[in-house]
């Protein structure tokens, strides 16, 4: 199957999930991601799948926990306030080392904030918004096509490493319409799920148990050691990023998600005026492409463009060290003061010009 079509980023989430074999979706309404659960509610039953509307995001994430423990590909989607509510469950899934996929279509915060675009959940997604020091893979698409592809990749990575994968989007990416080629990715085999909860009759009388309370003697440090080794392996093998015009860049913009599109336009304009600007776009926000960024930045002046008050900039600083100049273009550079404000390429261009 390969079909060209036009769709929104939110719809691409659904296509990616369905093409990855996800047949279980648990959702709760929140703007700007409502079209994801709505589509899944309509489509999954036709495919023999199950959609459940939950009573809260707490409920959604815990249904995901139960469903993935029983061995199916399952997911939920939400936006920022709902993402907050899910955090205890996210930490629980990390503890159980279960493969799950969660889409956060970010909106402005804190609190109820806005229903429109922002990139303010970076810390929560990347550093682990729940308790207890765990990691999860965070993928940040910047186009509708990449959203479709990365959702499939997310299920594959989740099953491969037994880990939660977050797709960190934003309202612009969720709502914008682009052409995609709907061609399911062949990502290769994943380990068999012989640990799934199907009743012990399904395993010849041998039972499966998920127990995340580690109170017995000698349990805790071996567990911590094992998950740290897993995180290390992911850091070594799964870093993804992209760069444009970076070879000779004297000024390097660093952006993810829809803001990376804005930055790329600013860079293109600069190039037309013979300014040596480039773009570095992390695709995995965890593991963060620190080595690649360090190498790409070399001696350049670095500017982080993100629609927040400054979150990813901390990882950028850690990556490039303290010798290179680092600037920030964020939410205060939006084109208007209401909730619908956005950071436009012209503004990014002007801001960066004052430092170059």
């Amino acid at each position: 199957m390969s079909k060209k079509m036009i769709c929104t980023g939110n719809r691409a989430v659904c296509y990616g999930a369905i093409d990855a074999g996800c047949r279980h979706f648990f959702g709760y309404p929140i703007t700007p991601q409502n079209d994801i659960p709505e589509y899944m509610a309509a489509e999954l039953p036709k495919l023999g799948g199950i959609y459940k509307q939950t009573e809260s995001e707490i409920s959604s994430i815990n249904m995901v926990y139960g469903a993935v423990a029983a061995g199916v590909r399952a997911m939920t989607s939400t936006s920022s306030p709902g993402f907050s509510l899910m955090q205890e469950g996210v930490s629980g899934i990390a503890a159980a080392e279960l493969p799950a996929v969660l889409v956060d279509v970010q909106r402005g915060g804190p609190g109820l904030g806005t229903t429109q675009t922002a990139q303010m959940d970076y810390f929560q997604a990347v550093k682990g918004g729940g308790h207890g020091g765990y990691n999860q893979i965070v993928l940040a698409p910047h186009s509708v096509q990449e959203t479709y592809d990365l959702v499939q990749t997310a299920f594959h990575l989740a099953d491969t490493y037994m880990i939660m994968v977050i797709i960190l989007m934003d309202a612009i990416l969720g709502q914008m319409v682009e052409q995609i080629k709907r061609e399911p990715l062949d990502l290769g085999p994943v380990p068999e799920k012989d640990w799934a909860l199907k009743g012990k009759g399904a395993k010849g009388g041998q039972r499966n148990v998920f127990s995340t309370m580690l109170l017995f003697p000698g349990q805790y440090l071996p567990y911590q050691t094992r998950i740290q080794e897993k995180y290390q392996k992911i850091k070594e093998q799964e870093v993804r990023w992209e760069a444009a015009f970076s070879d000779d860049a004297e000024t390097l913009l660093v952006s993810y998600g829809s803001t990376a599109r804005v930055s790329l336009e600013a860079v293109s304009r600069a190039r037309k005026e013979n300014k040596k600007w480039g773009l570095f776009r992390p695709i995995t926000l965890w593991p963060f492409p620190e080595e690649a960024l360090k190498k790409t930045a070399r001696g350049a002046r670095v500017v982080v463009v993100e629609d927040s008050m400054g979150q990813m900039i901390e990882d950028v600083r850690l990556a490039i060290g303290d010798r290179l100049p680092l600037h920030f273009v964020g939410t205060l550079m939006r084109h208007q003061s209401g909730s619908g404000g956005m950071i436009f390429p012209e503004r990014v261009y002007e801001e960066v010009c004052q430092w170059t």
Partner: protein, 260 residues
């Protein structure tokens, strides 16, 4: 046959196959052990050990998987009904899934979760162990704590004008259409233990037949939380707890309604 087993057989007749023979973590006089055994017997007698998945809750039920040899998963505090819903959905409704939850877990932090699972039309079984306090955390007031009952957070006894009234879950859930069966039992006498076993079996059968949600509340001694001897605890159940929480079947929409 090892000596322990021989002694046990003399004392209690037989040991269900599903009971894992190992030292327990329950306090002396705790009745989680009795409930665990009843569950083992019921699951064996119904012949569903290969098709059942248990969801344990934050509370003293959390390690029940150590003693009951079936598939298990533990849930975060109050969330067992959704975890069970997820497990059930992932098995496309074909397996038997039950939750075992304490009164803090089910009636405080998880009350909304339970009611919504019932309202959503889930076919699950919930076993609700009511010991009138938060046992695990050291005996704090729970929504089920009796008026006048001392707990670590009601040191002079629970007062209705300050802390409100005890909550009666077995009665409360009867208003939900999907709840086919709701009963309250106790384990303080042999007769009550036998009734509890019947109720557990029935709540499981309802799910096996795809009729709806089965709910069993079980009054249970927590000598450590109550700061009483095991024997006094049983008496306290008889005199105080059953007076507040009458035993019986509050809803039964099965054909065998007269059975219990």
């Amino acid at each position: 046959m090892d000596v322990n087993r021989e002694v046990q057989e003399k004392l209690v007749g037989f040991q269900p196959k599903l009971i894992v023979n190992q030292p327990g973590h329950y306090c002396p006089g705790c009745q989680y052990g009795v409930l665990t055994r009843l569950l083992a017997e019921v699951i064996e007698e119904l012949g569903i050990e290969g098709d059942i998945i248990g969801v344990s809750a934050v509370g003293c039920s959390i390690f029940i998987h150590s003693y009951l040899d079936i598939d298990f998963i533990d849930a975060l505090h109050g969330r067992a009904p959704e975890v069970a819903s997820g497990v059930k959905a992932a098995n496309f409704g074909k397996k038997i899934v039950f939750t075992l939850q304490g009164d803090g877990d089910l009636a405080a932090i998880g009350m909304g979760d339970l009611i919504n699972a019932m309202a959503r039309g889930e076919h699950l079984t919930t076993i609700f162990l009511n010991n009138a306090n938060y046992g695990t955390t050291g005996g704090q007031m729970a929504p089920t704590t009796l008026i006048g009952q001392k707990s670590t957070t009601t040191p002079h006894g629970r007062r209705d004008d300050v802390e409100g009234y005890p909550i009666h879950v077995a009665e409360l859930v009867t208003s939900l259409q999907n709840v086919v069966y709701s009963a309250r039992c106790a384990m303080n006498t042999v007769k009550n233990v036998n009734q509890t076993k019947k109720a557990l079996a029935k709540a499981m059968r309802i799910q096996m037949q795809g009729l709806g949600y089965g709910f069993v509340e079980v009054l249970s001694a927590c000598p450590s939380g109550w700061k009483m001897s095991p024997m006094d605890s049983l008496e306290w159940i008889e005199e105080k707890m059953i007076a507040e929480y009458p035993l019986g079947v509050f809803k039964d929409e099965t054909d065998e309604a007269a059975e219990l």
